[in-house]
Symmetry: C2
Subunit: 342 residues, 2 copies
Amino acid sequence: MKLYLAVRSKALLCAVMVCLLAPVAVAQAIDPLPSWKDGAAKQAILNFVRSTTDNSSPNFVPPGERVVTFDQDGTTWVEQPMYTEFIFSFDRVKELAPQHPEWKTKQPFAAVLAGDQAAIAKFTNEDLEAVMVATHAGMTVEQFQKTAKDWLAAARDQRWHRPYTELVYEPMLELMRYLRASGYKTYIVTGGGQAFVRVYAEQVYDIPPDQVIGTAMAIEYGYNKAGEAVLTRAPKLLLYDNFAGKAEDIYLFTGQHAKAAFGNSTGDQQMLEYTQAGGGAPLMMLVLHDDAQREYAYGPAQGLPNSNVGTFTQALYDEAKARGWIVISMKNDWKRIFAWEK
Amino acid sequence: MKLYLAVRSKALLCAVMVCLLAPVAVAQAIDPLPSWKDGAAKQAILNFVRSTTDNSSPNFVPPGERVVTFDQDGTTWVEQPMYTEFIFSFDRVKELAPQHPEWKTKQPFAAVLAGDQAAIAKFTNEDLEAVMVATHAGMTVEQFQKTAKDWLAAARDQRWHRPYTELVYEPMLELMRYLRASGYKTYIVTGGGQAFVRVYAEQVYDIPPDQVIGTAMAIEYGYNKAGEAVLTRAPKLLLYDNFAGKAEDIYLFTGQHAKAAFGNSTGDQQMLEYTQAGGGAPLMMLVLHDDAQREYAYGPAQGLPNSNVGTFTQALYDEAKARGWIVISMKNDWKRIFAWEK
C-alpha cells in the first residue's frame, strides 16, 4: 500500500496510519514522483501541491475546490500512430462489414476495409464522423460498453504488442495519485469518447465514471419490450469535448475552474487558459513528445516532425512560454515512461 | 456533530470515532431519520440501506456504484405557489426593465412588470423561455452566480417570510445525510437551472457543484480585454433536465444507474424508471403533497387539487403502485417538514 493513498469518496477509509499522516508530510518523506527527474517540471508540481494545500499559504485551496483535469490522448497514454479509439472504430467497421455490403465501395468505409493507410491519413472530419456514427451509435449504452470492453481486452498495439491500457505514462499515474493524496479530485477531460474512456478509467487511472468528461453522443430514452427503461446512443453529437469545448464542459460538469490542467496539444489550449483564469497559483502543463526512442517525437513545435494526431504547434509552445505554463519534455523530465520498462 | 457523518471526498476526515463505527451499526443505534414517522416509507429506506450496504446481501452495492438522485422542486424544497427560480427571474425582469423600455408593452415581460398573476399563470413554455433567456443569458457565469446569490440572500417567500433556502424539507435532509453516511453520493437532478441550484447546494444540501445536474444553457468560451478566458451564458438550451432528460443526463454525468431516486412529479417519472431498470434492489420514491396545513396539497392524483407546478397525475400514482415505488405522504409520513417548525 502506498503511503500517499488518496481518501476516496467511495470508501470509508479508516486506516489510522493514513489518519496520522498529513499528505504534505508524506510527500516530503517519500518521493511521490519517482519517475520524474529532478528539474523545473517536477519542482513546479511539488510547489503547486505545497502552496495550495498548506493552509497558511495565500494560495491555499479549500478541499472542496481541489479539482484537476487531465487530457488523455498524448497526455496520459500513447496517441500515435493513431488515437486508440479510431483503431477501435476501424476494427468495428471490419466486424460490421458483413451487415453493410455497400461499404465495400462506399467511402470512408471502403478505405478502412481495404486498410488503405494513405487514404485514412487524409480522412476529413466528415469521414471520421461517418465512421464514429456507424460504430458508436444505434445501440444501447450497455451494448456499446460491452463492445469496447471486449475489444480492449483483446486488442494489442503494433509497436509493443501490449494491451492499449498498458500504454499509459507512469509519471502521469504517479502525478494523479499524488494529487489525489493531496485532496484533489482528478478528472479526465478528453476529446475522445466519454463512454469509451469510462470503460477502463477506473481500472487504469483509478478515476470513477463521473470524473470522466469527454465527447458525447446524444442519448435517447426509450423502453424495451418488458417496459423497462433503455438508453440508446443516437447518431448525433451532444458534446464535442475539444478546444473551447473542454473549458465549457469542465464548467458544465464541475461548476468551477480546475486548479491544475495537463494537456499536450492544441485541443488543450483553452482548458489551460481557463484554468489560469481562475486565479490563485494554478498549474498548467503540456507534455512535449520529444522522445522517438522510448515513445514518439512530434510537434511541430521546436522543430519536431509535424503530426495530425496530437498537434503541438509552435504557437502553442510560444503561448505556454508567454503565460508561464510548464512544458514537460518526455525525454528530459521522465526517468521512465511505462511501468513495464526495464 | 451527528454520529452518522459522511466521509466526504473533499475532506481528510480523521476522527477516530467515525473510524471505529460502521455506518450500519450507527444506523441501528441512533435513528437516522428522526423526522420520519414509523411506517412503510421509513422502513423502505432502512431496508434499502441495509440490503445494499451489507456485503453478505445479494443486493450489495459496491461503494463506487453508490449513486442516488434527488429531484429538487417539490422533493427537497417548496415549489408552490411557483418555482423559486421563476420568482427570481420575474424579479430580474423588474430590475432589468429600465434597460428595456420596450418590455412595458411586450409580452411576456409586460405581464411580469404589471404583476398580472392571471396572465403569468397562463404563460406558455415559449413565454417562460423568453423570460429565462432574458434573465439567464448574455452574462458571464460569474455574473449570473453573483446575481442569483445576492437575490437568494435578500428574497423572502410570501407565506412564511423566510429565505427560500430555509424552505427545505428536514426529512429529506436527514435522508441525504443518512445515505451519504452509508457511502452514497447524493446528486440533485433538477428541471431547474443547474447554475442556479449550484449557488446554494453546498450550503443547503451539503452537495458540491459537481453533483448538481440540471437544465443548462449553452456556455460560450471567449476572452476578456486582458486576454483571460471567460465563459458566457448563451441564449440557447444545452440540456433540458426534465422527463426523459433526467435519465439521459444522469447517464451523461455519472455513467451509471442510480440505486435510488426521489421525485414528486411527472417530470421525475423517467428518472425513477431508469433507476429501476438498473436491477438489484433499488429504491424509488415519490413525495405526495397532501398537507395543505403544514405545506401545500396538490396532485391531481388521489383527488388532490390540480396544479401546473409539480403536477403529480393519477397515471403517475398508478404507475408507482404497479411498479412498486413508494409514495411518501407528507401528511402521514413526516413528523415535521421544516427544521424551524416548533
